[in-house]
């Protein structure tokens, strides 16, 4: 069953087109990373999926229209929109009380068990917690909701590496299972590469690349080409060429690995490598407005 299905999603703010006919299909039980430069339309796409903004085009989330059926949808969807959106005045016990009061499938003991592993006290105010602790607290609340779709928009921005790693480890080990679907939009591409099952690049409101990580790894090959082989390698039409340590590094899409082995050292590129290769030279990147 598709968890999210979007066709021709459009949204503009004045003259700025944020979503320009976005197509998207996410199956249940996947972890999709949405990668794009600032202003690519990531947040707008997530806001449309969450029913936070009206849009044009077709969109179904868990079989519902997110704009008209938002209140019902929110029983099955949870999201962390940004670091530090928890109200600063609230105390931890108040937060848990409130969510338990309004959410039909919130398991308070789960959240408390998770918090017990941290140094967050139930009487603490959010304003007195560090940024990393606030994220832990938010994660504890979200993981205790029995939601089918979790949407994360830059959930770890500004956190140190330990908190970031812990965040995704908890998500994978304590939360994710085959019934749930997770959508992550982030700039910190490399850290989540091993977490994802699918990846999507968007740029200027359109999908540039969309594939599973298995496909991604078999499609893209990076070769550090020996100087004498560069011309021969270029014939195979690399999608990108860069210089590193005095050698030409060529990125190929859909070319047989064995064949490429003749030119030099072959390796699987990271998401970030392919992202830079595909989007680095595109027009519009330099002017990328804040998303």
């Amino acid at each position: 069953m598709s968890c999210i299905e979007a066709r021709g999603l459009r949204k503009s703010f004045g003259n700025t087109v944020a979503l320009d006919g976005l197509d998207l299909r996410v199956q249940e039980g996947r972890i999709l990373g949405i990668i794009g430069p600032n202003g690519a339309g990531k947040t707008t796409a997530l806001n449309a999926i969450l029913g936070l903004t009206p849009y044009q085009g077709e969109l179904r989330v868990l079989g519902r229209d997110p704009w008209t059926e938002r209140d019902l949808l929110m029983c099955d969807v949870s999201f962390i929109a940004d670091v530090a959106v928890l109200p600063r005045w609230i105390r931890v016990w108040q937060l848990l009380d409130y969510v338990a009061g309004v959410h039909p499938r919130f398991d308070r003991s789960k959240a408390e068990a998770f918090l017990a592993k941290t140094s967050i006290h139930s009487t603490s105010k959010v304003r007195h917690l560090s940024k990393g602790m606030v994220t832990q607290l938010h994660l504890a609340v979200v993981m205790a909701m029995d939601a089918r779709l979790l949407v994360l928009d830059e959930p770890t921005l500004g956190l140190d590496i330990l908190y970031r790693k812990q965040f995704y480890d908890s998500l994978l080990n304590d939360y994710f299972d085959q019934r749930r679907t997770i959508l992550v939009a982030t700039h910190q591409v490399d850290e989540i590469q091993h977490v994802l099952t699918d990846v999507m690049f968007i740029h200027l409101g359109r999908v540039v690349l969309s594939c599973s990580m298995d496909q991604f790894e078999s499609r893209y090959v990076e070769v550090s080409v020996r100087p004498e082989k560069v011309e021969a390698a270029r014939v195979l039409k690399p999608v990108n060429e860069r210089q590193a340590l005095g050698r030409s590094v060529l990125l190929f899409d859909g070319i047989d690995r064995q064949k490429l082995g003749e030119f030099g050292d072959v390796r699987t590129p990271s998401i970030a490598d392919v992202f830079v290769a595909l989007l680095g030279d595109r027009p519009g990147h330099a002017q990328g407005a804040a998303s």
């Binding site: 936070l52 029983c75 099955d76 929109a81 928890l86 009061g101 309004v102 039909p104």
Partner: protein, 304 residues
């Protein structure tokens, strides 16, 4: 996909509806109002603090005056003097909670956008309607009830203190029986709920609307447009209907002379004909329109 997982999926999707929207509505409303009180502790701290200060002042003054002047006055005169202080307590507390309500409304829907916590509130299954309504309930119902409860408690303490002082100075308690307490408290109740809750409702509604609309400086947006309308009317037509309309809304009520004196209506409560006046109902309709607008704004406007 096989049939079994289909059924599972369907039952999961259907469960929020099956839970019964009505009960869920009441529960969500309860927690949302509770959240407002957690966030805005001035709702109860401000009137409590004022009550405490008032009681202190009352204690100091009455320990002197009841002794000194009591001898020269008849019981009825004593009761009149006492009743004035009694009503003053109510007046001061009502003024306090009115100011609290104004500031609460102006902040209610702007603050959550300013600190972006609206993104968290919107991640929960609580609709914009429930949220706005829960914020409106605070000045419309919660604060009036609280005002009554705190005033009632304050006045009871005043009675107790006076009784102690009277007895200690060897005087009779006869004066206290002239206060017609039952009537006073019934009057007070209908005055705070009817007047401070419902008659003032359009003021709160307007402020909540401004709070949902203004990106910043909500206070200015709340004050300047009415001021501008009043000034323009004066310049263009040399009339002041708008100002007098606003004035009568804030001063309490229409034409009845009892209203003008301030204290008297509190004793007698809201006259029934007041609830039948078109101004009352127009005000409520206006409130509903403002709240509807605030819900739409919270729904359509992005969080930033």
């Amino acid at each position: 996909m096989n049939a079994e997982t289909n059924v599972v999926a369907q039952s999961r999707v259907a469960s929020p509806e099956a839970e019964g929207a009505w009960i869920a509505f009441g529960r969500r409303m309860y927690w949302s109002v509770k959240r407002e009180v957690w966030e805005n502790r001035s709702i109860y701290l401000a009137p409590l603090a004022v009550a405490a200060v008032f009681l202190l002042g009352f204690l100091v003054r009455s320990s002197r005056s009841l002794n000194m002047h009591a001898a020269g006055l008849t019981t009825v005169e004593q009761a009149t003097v006492f009743a004035q202080t009694f009503d003053l307590a109510a007046l001061v507390l009502m003024g306090t909670t009115f100011v609290v309500a104004l500031f609460y409304c102006i902040e209610a829907l702007q603050g959550e956008r300013r600190d972006r916590s609206i993104l968290f509130w919107k991640s929960l299954p609580v609709s914009d309607g429930v949220t706005v309504l829960s914020k409106a309930i605070v000045p419309l119902l919660l604060l009036p009830l609280l005002t009554f409860a705190i005033t009632f408690a304050t006045q009871c303490i005043m009675l107790l203190l006076s009784a102690v002082i009277l007895l200690a100075s060897g005087q009779s308690l006869a004066m206290l029986s002239h206060l017609s307490l039952g009537q006073r408290w019934v009057g007070l109740f209908s005055h705070v709920v009817g007047g401070h809750g419902l008659w003032y409702a359009p003021i709160y509604g307007f402020l909540l609307l401004v709070s949902a609309w203004a990106r910043r400086a909500a206070f200015l947006w709340a004050v300047l447009p009415p001021l501008a309308i009043g000034v323009l009317e004066k310049i263009l037509f040399n009339t002041s209907h708008f100002a007098s309309m606003l004035g009568s809304r804030i001063a309490g009520a229409d034409t009845s002379p009892a209203m003008a004196t301030g204290v008297t209506p509190m004793v007698h409560g809201m006259p029934l004909e007041h609830f039948a006046s078109p101004g009352f109902w127009i005000g409520l309709a206006l409130t509903a329109a403002c709240l509807w607008g605030a819900v739409r704004l919270r729904r359509y406007r992005g969080p930033n």
